[in-house]
Symmetry: C2
Subunit: 214 residues, 2 copies
DNA sequence: GTCTATATACCGATAGAC
DNA sequence: GTCTATCGGTATATAGAC
């Protein structure tokens, strides 16, 4: 993995850590994130979260009004995370194609745990119907932002001649769909060897397969 | 869309229709499929299914032992569907790359409704934890089958010189991940114009971008 | 600040009517 | 074959103890 990718991962995790607050509330959110991403909103019990966080069931209600309330808070966090990752990638001192390469390595990395959970939460928030109205609204409103940010990098890459001259929006949508699917697959199989790398992923938008030495 | 893709869609839908049985039980399954794929197992109420199917709540229990029982039945149907689609694509009288092209068009088509729902159900069955043990087992056991079937076509394409000489398993995994992600994106946005086509999707495994006229 | 105990409501499943 | 009524279990959220 490139050193810039590692930097990116660290920045993403740091951003998560600083967004999530402190004290008991932080503990609740961190653990709720894990449980929600595994079981989904409807199937997780407040007692699951409490147990995982090391508190009693009733204690959760000192910090949150309801289960939905916790979920909405997490969706809010997750919604800002995606855009942040792309923006940080854009700040790297690399050509556009390499910025996207590092973003991809970061997003597919085993170490981007918060990223992985976030994508699952947003998945639930946008595909499910048994989700608080407010969570759906937040997720839908923020969905275009990472796409917009990536579009900008893609256009830069098209000018530089590394990226295919298709509609940048469609390329960006294809990109995040691919990443989404890969994260899900990784979660399902937990097989680290038989897994596509960033090089393969980016081939669908690269003009020349660059140099086929992997 | 190619005519072979339309044929494929028809075969997939027919296969679904003939697998699902008849009478009231069929009505329950068809409607449970819709509700489950939207809300997830935990969040759907038996009454949701009953309402959607036009029956009373208690009537469901004349045909199924429990809510889990319905879900397991659907997972069973979904599990056979994916492999069937790939096998049918393989029977098309085309070169390997074109078989995969048609498979892709079929899977991304608006008309492959059963396919879309199936993927969502399998997604739940493999990523969720609050899922009946039997459903997880069925889903996990069947997961490698479409991959195996696609691998065979990919290898054929590599011999024919149309597909990149990467590990066929990894290419197949990447392919289904991509499709999975795209189906989810399509469901989230419902925007038919700004959407990648089969040509773009397949670029990551094509040796030559063939002829770049789209 | 944290836990225990409880009320309130809801849902899955059953039993029995038509 | 289909529906209505109901029981029992379980989870959320509250209230009050320590």
């Amino acid at each position: 993995m490139r050193k810039e990718s590692r930097l990116l991962i660290k920045e993403i995790e740091d951003n998560f850590n600083s967004s999530v607050g402190d004290g008991s509330k932080r503990k609740i959110i961190e653990n709720a994130l894990k449980v929600f991403s595994k079981k989904g909103l409807a199937a997780t019990r407040i007692s699951d979260i409490a147990l995982q966080a090391g508190f009693s069931q009733g204690f959760i209600y000192n910090h949150f009004k309801s289960k939905d309330d916790i979920f909405i808070e997490i969706v809010r966090l997750a919604s800002s995370g995606g855009e942040y990752a792309v923006k940080q990638a854009d700040k790297l001192n690399l050509c556009a194609a390499d910025k996207i390469f590092c973003l991809t390595e970061a997003m597919l990395s085993e170490d981007s745990l918060s990223m992985e959970h976030f994508r699952l939460i947003l998945l639930q928030a946008t595909t499910g119907e048994a989700i608080p109205e407010q969570a759906i609204r937040i997720a839908k409103e923020s969905a275009p932002k990472p796409i917009q940010a990536l579009m900008k990098i893609i256009q830069e890459g098209q000018v530089q001649g590394d990226i295919i001259n298709d509609d940048p929006i469609i390329l960006a949508i294809a990109y995040f769909s691919f990443i989404q699917g890969l994260v899900i697959t990784k979660l399902q199989t937990r097989n680290k060897e038989l897994f596509p790398d960033a090089e393969m992923v980016l081939r669908f938008m690269r003009k020349k397969p660059a140099d086929e030495s992997i």
